[in-house]
């Protein structure tokens, strides 16, 4: 985009189509990654608005701005969008798609057409979900967990919405398949397994979880649809079924799914710290292996969502034990990150500031995960706002903050422009503050006994909810600053060089934005990542 000698970027090079078609029919991983990012953020905004409306409803006891039915539909749609349309595809299919081939020195993903297909599945699923909101019995009101028997009995449009989620599941599986195969097959010459950037390692672990867990969601949702349409009775005790089996099946997917969300986020954090500390990462192998072990042990703990469900006592004990085991590799990562700052030469730019916020919020959320992983305390706080606080700390404070960090870090690579640093820092601080004002009171509310998914509450919970609602406004302000800054910079930002941060991984060796096939010449790798001094 700058000098005439510069190669054409992937924005400019033609692919036989023009206009919008050159995007939605493109098999270029960079274009698909941007398609994902763009569509994700559109849906994300819908869900944010729903979240803000929910908070508004909860600002005071008694009905405020909506009916119970609409509130129930809102947290369901909020949850479904945030989980299935935003945070699960978020990093792997958005940033991962864009960065993975660049980081391993490949020209594209292993299956470019499947890559495009998965975006189409994603869009179709999203459209089906949107259609389900306005047709039939109206938006689903089951919560994102779709627990039977309520989800079988309710007259709302659950069947269609669930079908939409099923399609999203296919999309996610295909993404995972592509990630894993790409990493196996398309690494540049010399890029041995233990020379890969750690973001790639985390995508590898994520890909496997997507492949091996998502089909279980598929069959679970299929069963739910069949149950509604044909009445098999698998979950209906009157016919010999067992409602707890649905919970098992659902969490067999949905617990590993939280690692689909967090692993790539951890990967981003691991990329950013060494670059801004200008030193190598501490404990490369430990971080790589902890990704793999989080992914695999993550399969063994789904029962911790069912400690009060009536599951057998033995399995409650076993699942609690296993839950504590997964906490250890997460801890290893946190300690490695901190150690990687030791004796660095740190520049606290906005990507690093988001990363540091991540580490704090993730640790707080994760440590509360230990409280709810212990049996006796889980029985107390399960189904209360304590859980709501835990998972917002993990998904938003964790994944989304890392996502922010990643967006800021790779922004110059993706768009070839630089954003303004001051507003970026401001937005991070405002987001961080708003976040804690919004979600920390929820821990207290939970301990006082406030159940989740309550449209209305007793007056004694008022203070906490009020503070929380105010926090949601602060957060929204932070979000607005950040997006304004980023979007503005796409158009009128200063031109960024190919390597503004002095990064040492392969994506920084090509121009910004990268050319159509990423590299003029496939690089040859001779050493591990994060070498800043030669």
């Amino acid at each position: 985009m700058t000098g005439a000698q510069r190669e054409m970027s992937f924005y400019e090079s033609g692919n036989g189509h023009t206009g919008i078609l050159s995007w939605v029919l493109s098999t270029d991983h960079k274009r698909i990654g941007l398609l994902y990012l763009f569509s994700m953020f559109s849906f994300f905004f819908v869900a944010v608005i729903l979240g803000l409306l929910m908070r508004l409803e909860l600002i005071a006891p008694g009905p405020s701005i909506m009916t119970a039915e609409s509130y129930n539909a809102m947290f369901t749609v909020h949850g479904v969008i945030m989980i299935f349309l935003f945070i699960i595809p978020g990093i792997p299919a958005g940033l991962g798609n864009f960065m993975l081939p660049l980081q391993i020195g490949a020209r594209d993903m292993a299956f470019p057409r499947i890559n495009l297909m998965s975006w189409w599945f994603y869009m179709t699923g999203a459209i089906v979900i949107i259609v389900s909101l306005f047709t039939g019995g109206g938006p689903p009101d089951t919560g994102w967990t779709f627990y039977v028997p309520y989800s079988i009995r309710t007259g709302t449009n659950v069947t269609l919405a669930v079908f939409g989620v099923f399609l999203l599941g296919i999309s996610s599986t295909l993404t995972g398949l592509n990630l894993v195969t790409t990493i196996h097959r398309l690494r540049a010459p010399g890029l041995k397994w233990f020379r890969m950037p750690l973001f790639v390692w985390s995508l590898y672990a994520t890909g496997w979880v997507q492949i091996l867990a998502t089909p279980v969601l598929g069959i679970t949702l299929l069963l739910l649809m069949m149950e509604r349409l044909f009445g098999f009775g698998f979950f209906d005790p009157a016919r010999g079924g067992d409602p707890l089996l649905f919970e098992h099946l659902f969490w067999i997917y949905s617990h590993p799914a939280v690692y689909i969300m967090i692993l790539p986020a951890m990967g981003i954090v691991t990329e950013i710290i060494p670059v801004f500390a200008r030193r190598t990462i501490f404990g490369y192998k430990a971080i790589a292996f902890s990704s793999l072990s989080i992914a695999s042990v993550g399969y063994l703990v789904w029962g911790h969502h069912m400690f009060t469900s009536g599951m057998s006592d033995i399995s409650r004990v076993i699942f609690s034990f296993l839950t504590f085991i997964v906490a250890v590799p997460s801890g290893i990562k946190v300690f490695n990150w901190i150690a990687s700052m030791y004796k660095g030469s740190i520049k606290l730019s906005s990507p690093l500031l988001f990363t540091v916020s991540f580490i704090f919020l993730f640790s707080l959320g994760g440590l509360t995960g230990l409280i709810i992983g212990a049996l006796a305390t889980n029985i107390f706080v399960h189904g209360t706002y304590f859980i709501v606080a835990h998972f917002h700390y993990m998904m938003f404070g964790g994944t989304a903050f890392a996502f922010f960090a990643g967006i800021h870090y790779w922004f110059p690579k993706i768009f070839g422009k630089m954003y303004r640093e001051k507003p970026a820092i401001t937005s991070c601080i405002v987001l961080f503050a708003g976040f804690n004002v919004l979600y920390f009171p929820m821990f207290i509310l939970g301990l006082e006994g406030m159940p989740r998914r309550y449209y209305d509450y007793l007056p004694r919970f008022h203070t906490g909810h009020l503070i929380s609602t105010v926090g949601s406004w602060i957060l929204a302000a932070g979000l607005m600053i950040m997006f304004y800054n980023l979007i503005r910079s796409i158009f009128i930002g200063e031109v960024a060089g190919s390597n503004p941060w002095g990064g040492s991984t392969l994506e920084w060796t090509t121009s910004s934005p990268p050319p159509h096939e990423n590299f003029t010449e496939i690089p040859v790798v001779t050493e591990g990542p994060y070498r800043f001094r030669k």
Binding site: A68, N72, D141, T142, G143, Y147, Y150, R153, T154, G155, T156, P237, A238, D242, P243, L244, R278, R279, T280, F282, A286, T308, S309, G310, D313, S320, F324, A327, V328, I338, M341, Y342, K343, G344, S345, I346, L348, V356, F360, S363, L367, T368, L370, I371, G373, A374, L375, A376, T377, N378, I379, F380, G383, G449, P451, R452, R453, Y454, L458, F532
Partner: protein, 303 residues
């Protein structure tokens, strides 16, 4: 959180405290180290970084120490849990039946109540089930909770050691009325409790009036008696009216008669009034025959 309302309260709170203290310490260590490093090794103060690839003893330490800590947490959580799951032999059994969106507590002598009344200092065992969808019985002051699952019995127990009245919530999402599925636990001195326990139910031998039954059984959570619509159809003046119902997927028109009303109570899923969901809990084996008849008569007269 420091007042003991039942034996479980202290039990759970101690474990909570144990894990929280460790967690806060951990968080403090992590955060302060991070901030110290950010300041001390900022580019201004430390322009040249030192590469450190790893340090085996350190890495082993931060694998082993957290492992020990989490195992301790698991252990205490388990011990506390065992206590929560072992009711004493002499606990007073109370059957709990959850349905959209009310609770019914049935005592050994058949006494029924919509609130949970219990005697002070006597262990109580709740045997919980649901008539329709999942619910969860949650008493925050006692730190206990267990789901009500259709077709299954689950249990809880506690030993109340202070009189008073405490909130009882439904904490598993169960539909529109989930947030109003609230009741109370009333812990009373033993004499008071037994006086209530032995008393004849309201209405005595004559039985309750139709409206009383509707109120006590949560019918009015979904139905009105003034003709307006709610979750379910209004009950005023429906007798003799023609309605469209969905029977096994087929629509058909019927006239509401006694047989239909009874069926609506006992087998609500058989004919679902068009425009409504099939969510009404069946009253089969919940209400005695006599009371069902009373209701039907009451609805007939509700003009």
């Amino acid at each position: 959180m420091n007042q003991a309302f039942s034996n479980q309260t202290g039990n759970v709170d101690n474990i909570f405290l144990f894990i929280t203290v460790i967690s806060v310490v951990m968080l403090a260590i992590v955060t302060s180290l991070m901030i110290i490093f950010l300041i001390k090794f900022s580019r201004r103060k430390n322009p040249v970084a030192t590469d450190i690839e790893g340090n085996l003893p350190l890495e082993i330490a931060w694998i082993v120490i957290p492992t020990i800590l989490v195992l301790a947490m698991f252990y205490y959580g388990w011990v506390g849990f065992k206590e929560m799951r072992t009711p004493p032999e002499d606990a007073m059994p109370v059957k709990v039946s959850a349905r959209m969106w009310s609770w019914a507590f049935t005592y050994e002598n058949g006494r029924r109540s919509g609130e949970l009344l219990v005697p002070l200092n006597k262990p109580v065992k709740l045997i919980i089930t649901s008539e329709d969808v999942l619910h969860s019985l949650f008493i925050p002051a006692f730190r206990i909770k267990e789901d009500a699952v259709p077709g299954m019995e689950t249990y809880l127990w506690f030993l109340p050691d202070r009189t008073g009245s405490y909130d009882l919530f439904c904490s598993e999402y169960c539909g529109t009325g989930h947030s109003s599925m609230i009741s109370k636990v009333v812990v009373m001195p033993q004499e008071d409790f037994y006086a209530w326990y032995k008393k004849e139910e309201k209405g005595g031998a004559k039985g309750k009036s139709g409206l009383e039954i509707l109120t006590e059984n949560g019918c009015l959570e979904c139905h009105t008696i003034d003709g307006s619509k709610n979750i379910g159809p209004g009950l005023k003046g429906i007798f003799g009216k023609r309605v469209t119902v969905v029977t096994r997927g087929q629509e058909r028109g019927i006239t509401i008669d006694e047989g239909y009303l009874k069926r609506s109570l006992v087998e609500p899923g058989a004919d679902v009034v068009k425009g409504y969901s099939d969510i009404m809990p069946s009253q089969k084996e919940v209400l005695p025959e006599k009371e069902i008849n009373t209701i039907v008569d009451y609805i007939k007269d509700l003009k």
